[in-house]
Amino acid sequence: MANVMVVTSGKGGVGKTTSTAALGAALAQAGQNVVVIDFDVGLRNLDLVLGAERRVVYDFINVINGDAKLSQALIRDKRLDTLSLLPASQTRDKDALSDDGVARVISELREKFDWVICDSPAGIERGASHAMRHADLAVVITNPEVSSVRDSDRIIGLLDSKTEKAEKGGRVDKHLLITRYDPARAATGEMLKIEDILEILSIPLLGVIPESPEVLRASNLGTPVTLSNALSAPARAYVDASKRLRGETIPIAMPTERRNLLGRWFSRRAA
């Protein structure tokens, strides 16, 4: 039985699409059958981040409206054949999503894949509520910054009330993924510390992704960061997070300020 996972945050621009691609690719590399769905109708980005933007023929809305079959709309990744993408429409908007349309597509995908990852749009309206509706578990993306934390808290409240699972008396498992974490700035108090975020949000920590130029580089190349530079700090953090999603217990490696050896020797100019 497939796991339906929603990647959400409330706040925009914190790393939902980046994390969906990175986690999806990491799970696919580990042999799981993964489909990632872009729920951001009208402002689609997941296809760009995966480098599939020139192969989009049919999209999510076409499948909902019956203009295309699911197999025609799904785009298989060229690098990982266990990873597929269901892109969003760019010309429509979120009102084109319908409750039974989404339900139908998700149940069809449940039968074909091990993981159905829903990339939620920002906000708390239709797009976000459709993305979270059928979730079994949720990954809440948060930047170590006050507005992001408050918006994440709001979305956690909605996960406990607006999902099918919650309405039936169950509970959606929630995991916190902190992104763009900079340990130096957290130490000086410019950024919230991990313990502070956990105290406010009180959900289990899935991982901490350090701030890194690798993420932007990967996204411009149209590759998930776990594939473009697998040894980089964010890629390793995402891979660890994907392992934790599958039940492995891996201690969270706190990103520390890293300076390479040369940086330490030549850190100060002589007068």
């Binding site: 708390i124 408050r150 918006d151 808290d153 709001r154 956690i156 409240g157 909605l158 406990d160 009180s202």
Partner: protein
């Protein structure tokens, strides 16, 4: 000279219909007010936010009697939307307007109440944290939260509010007028604290109390906050 022709006004309005509750006082008014008090004791917030009309046909009030009655109702937090069944002469400026032409609905008040759950003071216990954006309203009594109340969340209680956790949101105690209501929390970081209509925003809360377990209560028209030892 040409005078510019004024454009037709863009003003427009629409109609809306409500079901209003109609109070029909019968003399002796003292007894009628006593019966009303009995009702309010059982259902304290019954008339809050409901449209209420006054039908004076059984009372035939003079201007002074009507003014006194409106004052008595106002003391009980009942605002009258309109007055029916009295002479034009009796309604003074500043009183609710005369309304006519309403359609009767069958006895709504008592039947509804007996079908509803008993309105005695009850306590609401919330066993998890209250998240941002969630709004808890429990006008019938105390509210107890076993967890933190997040920034952007709101709790409104007719009685006291007890928070076994950090308070980062808004709390409104004694919302139906109970001035003895108190607010307790384990860690004060509230956005707003209010008791029975009086409020204190985060700005006005002493810095020394922030982050500590406190209780808040009303003394006269001032909210007092003190640390719990």
């Amino acid at each position: 000279m040409n005078n510019p022709v004024p454009r037709a006004s863009a003003f427009s309005f629409k109609g809306k219909s409500f079901v209003a509750y109609v109070l029909t006082p019968e003399p002796p008014i003292r007894d009628w007010l006593g019966a009303l008090d009995g009702w309010l004791a059982r259902s304290p917030a019954f008339f809050v936010r409901r449209p209420v009309l006054l039908d004076g046909s059984k009372m035939n009030p003079t201007l002074a009697e009507l003014e006194e009655l409106l004052a008595e109702l106002s003391k009980r937090d009942i605002r009258i939307l309109g007055i029916d069944g009295v002479d034009d002469a009796v309604v003074a400026a500043g009183m609710p307007p005369l309304v006519t032409g309403g359609r009767d609905r069958q006895e709504v008040g008592y039947a509804e109440r007996s079908a509803a759950k008993p309105q005695k003071a009850s306590s609401l216990v919330i066993e998890k944290s209250v998240r941002s954006g969630q709004s808890i309203a429990h006008l019938e009594g105390d509210v107890t939260v076993l967890g933190p109340v997040a920034s952007g969340a709101e709790i409104m209680a007719g009685g006291s509010i007890h928070i076994y956790g950090a308070l980062r949101g808004r709390v409104i105690a004694g919302s139906t007028g109970d001035t003895r209501a108190r607010i307790f929390c384990q860690k004060l970081d509230a956005e707003l604290v209010a008791i029975s209509g009086f409020y204190r925003s985060a700005d006005a809360i002493d810095e020394g109390l922030r982050g500590r377990p406190v209780q808040a209560w009303l003394e006269g028209d001032a909210i007092k906050i003190a640390a719990l030892s």
